[in-house]
């Protein structure tokens, strides 16, 4: 079986007898890329683990109705992004008075993360990324780390290529400024 072919995987998923097997292959194929995307949004491994599990549960529940209007990969990425952003939104709701912001919490997670292996300058970069507005942060991560094309990002984030380019440009300038400080 050409297990990397999404079309074949989807047709296997639609068959009751091969559904679990097909889904297992889909998870193995995409789990790492989706996990790292989510991890950069929520920072902590435990939170990323929760989000990625919820993502794949949603995928399981919705895959039968997926009509291939977009690529499977794009659809999965969109679900993972939405799950991660919803997770942060729930966090925000907990703090009505913004003495402690979600960004503060994420920065604390980053500093105390035992699964962060970067050096000092990488830590500084991550902190600079955390200081960006949410959308810019998302765009920066997808472009800089995932090296995703703007056209692909536009499909996932449901926005225009021009807006994404502008967001990325602003993000880079702000990060550069932050890196230049002390």
């Amino acid at each position: 079986m050409a297990k990397n072919n999404d079309k074949e995987l989807l047709s296997l998923f639609r068959d009751e007898n091969t559904r679990h097997h097909a889904f297992n292959i889909i998870i193995r194929k995409y789990q790492e890329r989706l996990y790292w995307h989510v991890r950069r949004i929520v920072i902590s491994h435990d939170d990323a683990d929760d989000v990625i599990q919820n993502t794949f549960i949603r995928v399981w529940n919705g895959l039968e109705k997926f009509h291939e209007a977009s690529k499977l990969y794009t659809w999965l990425y969109r679900i993972a992004t939405n799950e991660a952003l919803s997770f942060l939104k729930q966090y925000r709701k907990k703090f009505i008075i913004p003495i402690v912001t979600v960004e503060n919490i994420l920065e604390n997670s980053l500093e105390s993360d035992s699964f962060f292996n970067g050096d000092e300058i990488q830590m500084k970069l991550q902190k600079a990324i955390l200081s960006l507005p949410e959308k810019q942060r998302l765009v920066f991560n997808m472009k800089y780390f995932d090296e995703m094309k703007y056209e692909e990002m536009a499909k996932i984030l449901n926005t225009s290529v021009g807006a994404l380019k502008a967001s990325y440009h602003h993000a880079v300038k702000k990060i550069e400024k932050k890196l230049g400080k002390g």
């Binding site: 789990q31 996990y35 699964f115 970067g118 991550q126 800089y144």
Partner: protein, 148 residues
């Protein structure tokens, strides 16, 4: 090198690697844990009986029709109710008058009395028995007669 290199000399110097890591065997175990979570979800999902699922739309239609019929019936009763004064007790009338007395004008009252004229009062046969009763009860019957 991407288009940001011109505006980000510091950023381009940083190693573009992934600074994060995961626990050992995390990606080997993740598919199994996800399948397990899906299995648990399926088991805990409340299963509706087939017959209920099948007749649910019909039940909804029937409930809507009954609700419309009930609302229509009571609406009709309310609009066409003939709550005439003849069905009211004297107590209810007194209560009504007391409550709305400020809104009822004296002239209107007199007019109503004129229309439904009562027979003239005849106090000539005020018997001794009644006068004795009033005296016994310490009621000043003279003043009553004067008023009348």
């Amino acid at each position: 090198m991407d288009e940001s290199s011109n505006i980000s000399p510091r950023l381009t110097k940083i190693k573009r690697g992934n600074p994060y890591s995961v626990p050992e065997n995390y990606f080997e175990e993740l598919p199994g844990r996800i399948q397990e979570a899906i299995h648990v979800q399926k088991e805990t999902e409340p299963v509706k009986p087939f017959t209920f699922r099948f007749i649910r739309p019909q039940l909804a239609v029937a409930a809507s029709i009954i609700a419309f019929a009930v609302i229509g019936y009571f609406g009709y009763k309310l609009i066409h109710s003939d709550n005439s004064a003849s069905e009211l007790t004297s107590g209810e009338i007194a209560e009504y008058v007391e409550y709305y007395s400020s809104e009822i004008e004296e002239d209107m009252f007199i007019e109503m009395l004129e229309e439904n004229k009562l027979p003239e009062a005849d106090y000539s046969d005020l018997s001794d028995e009644i006068i004795t009763y009033l005296v016994d009860e310490n009621i000043d019957y003279q003043s009553i007669i004067e008023i009348l």
